[in-house]
Assembly symmetry: C2
Homo-oligomer: 121 residues x 2
Amino acid sequence: MTSAAPTTSSRDLPHPARADIRLEGVLHALSDPMRLGIVRELAADTGRELSCSQFALPVTKSTTTHHFRVLRESGVIRQIYRGTAKMNGLRRDDLDALFPGLLDSLLAAADRQATRLGVPG
Amino acid sequence: MTSAAPTTSSRDLPHPARADIRLEGVLHALSDPMRLGIVRELAADTGRELSCSQFALPVTKSTTTHHFRVLRESGVIRQIYRGTAKMNGLRRDDLDALFPGLLDSLLAAADRQATRLGVPG
């Protein structure tokens, strides 16, 4: 036995398998401006994981937790505990395999809308 | 004066202008399996208008009306009264202008999922 705790533990959060991800669930997850913003930030930082606290969301901690949970349960993001931090990463491989081109189309549409409305991208 | 009633009348239904259509609203509208199915049917019949009653939805009339209203209010479809029938058409021009490629990506993703799950397309 080693003294290092395994990265995955009983605190593992439930994630849908790739085959259980549904388009409707993904669209629902992205239909909220805050969740769409989170996904845009994760997509901008290719492959990097970000902790929930790195997102400066103008809502309570419990609302933040809720938004990340919706994204995780729909299969859009993967959340992994690293120590006390919950780290978040986009499930790009899974989404691209299921729906080729969709994520990029959605991100492009979100960029375009942000530019059109003059809000920060 | 002519005896023909104008196509548009006081019974006109409210639609968002193109500039008021929001990506989040479109995604919310498409996040329901029944509404996504309606949009796929409208897209398959390019340019054709279909009346609400042409959709054989396994729900009550009021639920059907609700789903069409969500699609209209989000800017996904246009609903026009023709006589006593409410006719529905996809706002493809508006959606393509705002979010180039997005509608086709969404329809392709929905087709792919239907094939994968073995449900009627």
